[in-house]
Amino acid sequence: MADLKPIVEMKGVKKSFPGVQALSGVDFRLFEGEIHAIMGQNGAGKSTLIKILTGVYKSDGGSIVYCGSQCRFKSPLEAQKKGISTVYQEVNLCPNLSVAENIFIGREPRRFGMIDWNKINSESEKLLKRLNVSVDVTKLLSSYSVAIQQMVAIARVLCISSRVLILDEPTSSLDEQEVNELFDVLNKLKSEGMAILFVTHFLDQVYRITDRITVFRNGTFVGEYLTKDLPRVELIFKMVGKDISAMSAMPQKCLENVSDNKAADSLLEIKKMKKHGSMNEFSLDVQKGEVLGFAGLLGSGRTETARLIFGIDKPDEGECLVKNELKSISSPSDAIGLGLAFCPEDRKTEGIIDELSVRENIILALQGSLGIMKYLPRKKQEKIADDYIKALGIKTADAECEVRTLSGGNQQKVLLARWLATKPSLLILDEPTRGIDVGAKFEIQEFVMSHCKEGMSIIFISSELDEVIRVSSRVAVFRDRQKISELSGNDLKEEKIMHTIAGGQ
């Protein structure tokens, strides 16, 4: 492969946004017939680079050579026409159109000037067969699972005769079987000469399927390596830039608070709860002052469990006891009244009220629990806001700034402040460190620990196993919408948890 020219070669690419230098002179090469991963923490610049390559952004400097000639795409459409296609995590297709139509729309075969439906249907069936998929192509896309929808997206790419396929977090919503099927397809395409760029945060998958890895860190190019020559530990080291052992100098876990007297110290107990389409039957309990971690792959049901506990979704069956008393939680306000708090995963759509100020966002849940009439006086609101801004280190000009002007990490802190202000007994955190730089990550983890010392219980949900292990005294393991096990003590090791998820005990 060394003497072959790469189909895509980017050199010294720069891009900056107001206040942020997203990319400072990075390089990237992609060859035909390979699967290449770009790895890096959130904010490292992966998606920015892809957006520049596919024409969503314009770079501020550097060169892009595609198929041997310099180019600069002005729009995703132009990139597509030239042969670079992207399949996004959210599968950007139209759910209200049929499978066949989604594949061919924009380039429908014609007969006498009108669309030839028969041809569209038969051709799309053929394309899907190449991917080992046989479905009824005349049905709406929305009637199929995400895995199939992704295959349809890939089929569209084939229809366009792309030479470069970019997959952005394709496996986030897939189960194991579906991931295998996707990888079969990718390998097949690779053998046909397609250049594939694979963006993911799942380490195992990177090692399973990719040939080459490029690492970015903080907008800079760290290096390009052959996958087989790069051990995991080294990869993580290059991505994070720190020695992992240094990270384990964390405050002591809250093991002291967990007493043997389970009944007296039980804060929350869920008995045999389930909901069709959401979670299979599960039971769990949380003690006062402990941190219970939820581990599992994306889609395994951790968020669904949290939603059931917090009253966002109503269970079909099951009991809930708070402090040993049977309670019915049918809405978030019920849960808040009982001392629960929930910091959701998707802070943009489920968390922050972006046009309101930092102050208003922070006091929102507290005000909600007080009701409409007992309005917190302005001075009190400002004091609460200022206290939390200081305590959490929220970087903002002042408390009246609109929350949407803050960075992701600071927005997350505002959300955290919102829930802490309600002084909950149980705080559920769903992926609280997602999309946050490493420094802020540690701040939040430390925070979690110090609060549990003060007697607050926490359910900590995260896809990053090291994080979960670091803060939790017990870990509940989930797979396929089921809670399969609980681990504690010496079992709290990454390998053990991964094993449990994979299926061993």
């Binding site: 995703p76 459409l77 597509q80 026409k81 992207t86 996004y88 950007n92 297709l93 139209c94 759910p95 209200n96 159109l97 139509e101 729309i105 924009g106 429908e108 009108m114 669309i115 080992n132 998929v133 046989s134 479905v135 009824d136 049905k139 709406l140 929305s142 009637s143 199929y144 699972s145 895995a147 199939i148 569209r156 079987q177 099927e181 069709h276 389409g277």
Partner: protein
């Protein structure tokens, strides 16, 4: 076992990868079927209750008396499928009649010149609205509200009273009967409206433009990323609606040769009602031209039923019945959508 192959039997097992059962009840078709069924039922009730109801004349009258509603509703359907709305249809139609009235009657310009001109005016208004909606991201509701004020205002400024057209061309067209069977006839307006329907169906289902309209309604972001000409299509959709509104105005004059600045007051609500009853969802992304046709037929049948009932029924019941129908069809849409999602999940 290869899970990917979906034989018919999988419908029973409901395995992942396809929901043959779910889509057999593809709720879009179900809504259309409900609309058609409703029309048949209503016509049936009329036929049973009143003598002379069940006749070709009554059926054809549904088309003869409402060509403007049909045409404007077809234009509106395109807009609504993209997730927008057009409140200016009645006013643009009225403006069309006033411009025609003034130019033909008062200034003696030939209809051959005036008619294409007013169609151009209507399309231009639609085009400008389309630009505001797409380029300046103004919400369709308020942009077309402004268009409605503008068109109505200009129409009234031309003349506050109606202008009767004595022009021979209009009189001839308005009186022309095309015999169909026996005594039953249709008018030129009906030919126009049927042509519009046929062209609309071809556009919607057999051209890239039509499919892009549906794609925009389904997920505009995706449509853009898929490389579809979203901007062009959106602007075109409002232009078409403007054209249809103007054409509706023309058919108003063919029906009754006069220009009236108060034509079509409230027509936009009737048109929206017809489109919704026809099975098109206001959220966009689905709907059939044929459904809209039946929606207008249903509204027309209601009016006819009340007419036949004579003086004993307060004509304002029409409004209430229309409203109730809109409500029922919207609730149906919501229920079907929820059921559809449930089946897809399991």
């Amino acid at each position: 076992m290869n899970k990917k192959n979906i034989p018919i039997l999988s419908c029973i097992t409901g395995r992942k990868g396809g929901n043959s059962c779910g889509s057999m009840f593809n709720f879009k078709y179900l809504l259309l079927a409900a609309t058609i069924a409703l029309f048949i039922i209503m016509f049936g009730i009329g036929s049973v209750s009143f003598r002379g109801f069940f006749s070709l004349k009554v059926f054809f009258d549904l088309f003869i008396d409402n060509p403007f509603l049909f045409i404007a509703a077809i234009g509106m359907t395109f807009v609504i499928i993209t997730g927008g709305i057009d409140l200016s249809v009645g006013s643009v139609a009225a403006l069309t009649t006033m411009i025609t009235g003034t130019l033909v009657e008062i200034h003696g310009v030939s209809p051959a010149v005036v008619l294409p001109f007013v169609l151009l005016v209507g399309s231009s208004i639609g085009f400008l609205i389309g630009i505001m909606v797409h380029f300046f991201k103004i919400q369709p509701f308020i942009a077309t509200l402004g268009g409605m004020f503008l068109a109505r205002g200009i129409a009234l400024m031309i003349n506050t009273d109606s202008i009767t057209l004595n022009n021979s061309f209009f009189k001839a067209v308005s009186n022309y009967h095309i015999p169909v069977i026996g005594n039953a006839f249709i008018t030129i307006n009906v030919v126009i409206l049927l042509s519009v329907v046929v062209i609309a169906i071809i556009l919607a289902h057999y051209t890239n433009f039509g499919r892009t309209v549906y794609a925009i309604g389904g997920n505009e972001q995706s449509a853009i990323l898929m490389g579809l000409p979203v901007g062009r299509t959106k602007i075109l959709v409002y232009t078409i609606s403007g054209f249809c509104s103007a054409l509706a105005g023309v058919t108003m004059m063919f029906y009754m040769p006069s220009g009236n600045p108060l034509h079509g007051v409230g027509m936009e609500m009737d048109v929206i009602a017809a489109v919704v009853i026809g099975g098109t969802m206001l959220t966009g992304g689905s709907g059939y031209m044929l459904g809209t046709v039946f929606g207008v037929l249903i509204l027309g049948t209601i009016a006819t039923l009340i007419n036949f009932q004579g003086g004993s029924v307060n004509p304002w019941w029409i409004r209430i019945i229309n409203a109730a129908l809109i409500l029922i069809f919207c609730l149906l849409q919501i229920i079907f959508e929820k059921k559809g999602r449930k089946i897809a999940k399991s």
